[in-house]
Assembly symmetry: C2
């Protein structure tokens, strides 16, 4: 364990240990702290085994659905789509010609990572355990003698190994293998998998390290993976290589073809770039790696660069659902304020990557704005990507499916599909949902911080004593959260329970026991400091009125529209709730009329829908008319808005998040 580097202090490294490193196995306590002298960190993560999400709640329900439906579905599809067969061929055990995308291995790695997080919180699923055991053994057999592991470049194109850094995704696949091994290391004991990953990582250090070639991968992922592997193992060359990959960007190594350097985030050095650009998922994974390296090396300018890009991304290029990437072409970020709802590419993986990037920034800085964006993404852009049954997925997540939409391609599908030829998104959802417990709360030397609310039980060490927090809430349907302190809370001396007040919340109340307390939020958190008597219940009651949300005036695409929201949830209109024959694009919201939240029994998974007054616009105009538009509205109608994350679970049909306001009567 001499190389292990763990932390529970404010300055210790703590990035993306969705589970605290848990060398003693799943559910084990966090290890001893050996923070590096230069590391930056405000908050320390809890392990996935320290938080139990109860399935009665929405987040806990998603986690359970992920375990029971999404994960087995992914495993089935890896087998059916040939991903497992590719690795068997690489191991010399089968005759299957290479099948699928050349980066198909990454789907296996991500599913494996998901399975490892899942088993780390809820061991005992024999089928999942068998998948892990078989897959780890297969990876070990498919690994080449020198440590190389990639079925495409072993089976289909061995002569191309390391030859096409722009497109080969070799380091991207290696990164996901390493992330699986890190999950295995934190959420359970997976020495074989860790050994496979380290052998490959050692090969990377040899080839790409200080004495090696100057190349970077066209698709980031390896940067954050190597930093994570360093955290797990303490082996410094991994971190140094991650940093080297970052430093090599912006020097003309990528994007000489039609896609150009911006697509690959290679147009400027990472410390100088001022705008997010290019392929959104690549940009966001790269940013996660930037934060990882920054905090582990104490590189404040690099952290500043990441935060500067955060401001650019979240002030000018993020959808109200938390989705990123407004262009189908190149799956890319657009210009500032270019946020079309209908052609939102909004790739599922980009929302997940944004969640992971914000998590890293939250740990590094403790700033609530990052938790706000995690919440926005997980309840909207990420959640909408999965069907209610957990077995169908969106790749692209538009905010408006137009009447007459003719999308049949995978990237503009009008309905969730069971699998994709480029299946990056489904297993990415699986690994996020499986590790969800790890993102609810953090610790620091002063106490505990709760960032996301849900039915859950947390245990964490505070001043060396095990403290327990029982969270009871119907969040996000209701804003009331009860937290009961337990365990040895009383023996920890005074400590601070910090509760996030989401940025959408304008009024709230706090009581401790029977007593209502004045607790002004500072920097997005209510902080309650005292010697806690076990059994004390804190109630945070967040006002949750229906909100009309407007976009910045420069967002041309939604001028004159509002989004309906309540709590963290964005709502939408669906064709299924409109009278027959009404075209969704003709619906207008009556601006002054009240919008109410209503209980609804007949819509599984959405106990709260919104009810509003609308009118229909006259659609008999020609395409262009002289004279300023004097839109005529007539027929009044009652509108029902349902949570965006649930759209497309009834009949297939048009949907829109941004609703035009009626401009006349």
């Amino acid at each position: 364990m001499t190389e292990q580097k763990l932390s529970d202090t404010q300055t210790g490294p703590g990035m993306d240990r969705a589970a605290e490193p848990a060398p003693s196995g799943p559910g084990g306590p966090a290890g001893p702290a050996v923070p590096g002298p230069e590391a930056i960190a405000a908050l320390r993560p809890l392990g996935v085994d320290q938080v139990r999400l109860h399935p009665e709640g929405l987040l806990g329900g998603w986690r359970r659905r992920n375990a029971e439906d999404t994960l087995p579905h992914c495993v089935d599809n890896l087998r059916g789509s040939g991903n497992i067969g590719n690795l068997q061929a690489a191991a010399g055990e089968g005759e299957q010609p290479f099948t699928g995308m050349w980066f198909a291995d990454s789907d296996v790695h991500k599913t494996l990572e998901a399975a490892l997080w899942e088993l780390g919180t809820s061991p005992g699923d024999a089928s999942l355990e068998a998948f892990v055991e078989d897959t780890v053994a297969l990876l070990a057999r498919a690994q080449q003698a020198d440590g190389y592991l990639n079925s495409y470049f072993t089976v289909a194109a061995p002569e191309e190994r390391w030859r096409r850094p722009d497109w080969a995704h070799e380091l991207y696949c290696a990164g996901h293998l390493i992330q699986a091994a890190v999950a295995g290391g934190r959420a359970g004991a997976q020495p074989v998998l860790l050994s496979v990953a380290r052998r490959f990582a050692d090969l990377l250090v040899e080839r790409f390290g200080p004495d090696g070639v100057e190349e970077v991968c066209g698709h980031p992922e390896i940067e954050t993976a190597l930093a994570e592997l360093y955290r797990l193992t303490g082996h410094r060359p991994y971190l140094d290589l991650a940093r080297r990959f970052l430093d090599l960007r912006g020097h003309g190594l990528l994007g000489r073809g039609r896609f150009g350097p911006r697509y690959h985030q290679d147009h400027q050095p990472v410390r100088e770039v001022r705008e997010v650009a290019g392929h959104a998922v690549r940009q966001l994974y790269l940013l996660a790696g930037m934060v990882d390296v920054a905090v582990e090396t104490g590189d404040l300018p690099l952290l500043d660069a990441a935060e500067r890009l955060w401001v650019d991304a979240f002030h000018t290029r993020t959808y109200v659902t938390g989705a990123h990437g407004s262009r189908h072409r190149d799956e890319a970020y657009g210009d500032p304020y270019e946020l079309p709802p209908d052609r939102a590419y909004a790739e599922t993986c980009a929302a997940i990557a944004s969640f992971q990037w914000n998590w890293r920034l939250l740990l590094a800085t403790g700033r609530a704005r990052y938790a706000d964006e995690m919440e926005r993404a997980v309840y909207n852009a990420v959640a909408a990507a999965v069907s209610a049954d957990g077995r169908r997925f969106f790749y692209s997540n538009p905010l408006h499916l137009r009447t007459g939409h003719a999308g049949s391609g995978e990237e503009e599908a009008a309905r969730r599909l069971p699998w994709y030829s480029c299946a990056c998104c489904p297993p990415n959802i699986a690994r996020l949902m499986a590790s969800l417990p790890g993102y609810l709360a953090t610790a620091d030397e002063g106490g505990l911080q709760v960032h996301l609310y849900g039915e859950a039980t947390l245990t964490a060490a505070v001043a060396g004593r095990p403290v327990r927090l029982e969270m009871r809430t119907d969040y996000p349907w209701q804003g009331r959260v009860e937290l009961t302190v337990g365990g040895e809370a009383g023996q920890s001396g005074p400590w601070t329970l910090a509760l996030r007040v989401p940025s959408w919340c304008e009024a709230y109340s706090v009581s401790v026991g029977e007593e209502t307390v004045r607790a002004p939020a500072a920097d997005g958190y209510v902080r309650l400091t005292r010697v806690w008597t076990p059994g004390t219940t804190v109630v945070l009651d967040l006002d949750m009125p229906v909100r009309q949300v407007s976009a910045h005036p420069r967002v041309d695409a939604v001028r004159g529209c509002v989004t309906l929201a309540r709590g963290p949830l964005v709502y939408c209109l669906e064709q299924a709730d409109l009278p027959p024959g009404v075209v969704l694009e003709d619906v207008r919201l009556a601006p002054a009329a009240p919008i109410t939240a209503a209980h609804r029994d007949d819509l599984p998974g959405a106990p709260v829908v919104l009810s509003a007054r609308g009118v229909l616009a006259d659609a008999h105009d020609p395409l262009y008319t002289s004279g300023a538009s004097r839109e005529r509205t007539n027929t009044p109608l009652t509108l029902t808005a349902v949570p965006y994350f649930l759209w497309g679970n009834r009949t297939e049909g048009p949907m829109r998040v941004w609703i035009p306001l009626a401009t006349t009567g």
Copy 2:
């Protein structure tokens, strides 16, 4: 000449003979009429040699600029970019490895077509004549023994000949070769070129004809080209093959790969399809071919299908500039009313193809709406694609270049580029501009019809007597058009001069000689029937107030915005006319304030600009805020709008056609 099939009757074939077939050479009279029994045609085209566009006018200035700048520029670039070298290699005369796109020959063919139209109206340019002579001779030498002519599949990939109908563009290139030969046949004598084209066309009939393979080309063009070659030669197998290519569509021959059948307009048979779809240029060329075949074979259901698709395209998917294709991805049509100004792909070639399609429909039906759309396209979408100096071009023609636009790719360029790696657009502009005279007016058995106004002299036979029409106007800057009748007009008996009243015009007056006449427009034309005394001047005075144009309420992307227009011209705001530091997206138009047309000397080529009152919106909001937008506006400012076709000719910078209306004081 027995196979020649010409017409000057109302029912005779007359499609896209921008010049009437002129077997006796440029400037020669229209030939005798041998209309096929089944042909459909309302109007008969004049030859390019029958209309002289004077360079003092805007259209005539464009034609001259095309001759003096664009065409020589294209010729230079064909040489510099390797297109000529490719054909030399195919002729066995050089060592140049194949260079450029695999359909690079089509750029040569289109430039050749442009040169032939140009020489047909204005012979005597020795350099252009040399280009034609050299190129025709080179094409003859590059042609294979069996008639095949395509440098890529001769030089670079002979084993792939006819192997990849989806992507090879072999028939597309053949089509452009044939179009050049047709131009040569109509605008001058080019027997060698016609022979080359016919040898290739005969090979196509042999391979793809009734006894041949069932294949179609992924990129339409051959359909209209073969119909045109039939018109020139009267050789029926060309027309039958064009029809066969149409009939074979929609039966699963194309689009088995990632692009799918819609991209290739192969998802439904052409007579059944109800919406324009897929790659916009391909769709529009196909539609031109549908009209050609319909009118030549008397196929009313096919013509109906084309008109039905016209309604779909022009009522739901056309930009206010006349541009088509709202998606960068796949260069495609979007969903109905999906018309984002910033991400308008609006390929130059699509606007040209739309112009050609509308011309065919105008000739077939005589309906003014088709001339209206020709006018919209030529003055806006097409014209904007060329720089003021005629030597730079847009491929994509957005209606909004955002502040902060980072486009560097050819398809999202922030400024016109001198040439393109896929250089389809510049020579396409050249061939349209060179043939422009042919689109101004038509004839039928009852008289003459003027569709587009400009400084020009027309000569045409009316009742067998040569009639002359002198057109004097400052159109489109002013709405007054003077037409003086001359020639042997008086000997023709009574005939009808039909003058188009554009759909944008709400009031106009007409006088004949000294007399103001009541002349209500019927179906978009004022029709003046009388025995014309030579020297009589008709004045059509079209009111040309500044218009605020609104889009259909379903066009979400421009809600709350108007376009400023005057006459046929769409105007735009450019950064160059804003005070320093003002962000274009913050500019609002004061809705009630008058907008005036003003003379302007300092803007070359735009004597009339528009002046309006604006205000600036407060841009200090976060990206999303709770509460319906209550946009705050403050600083008033004077706005100058310039013709869209002239944008980007001063400094590079943001531009917008759709201007948001201020919603508050």
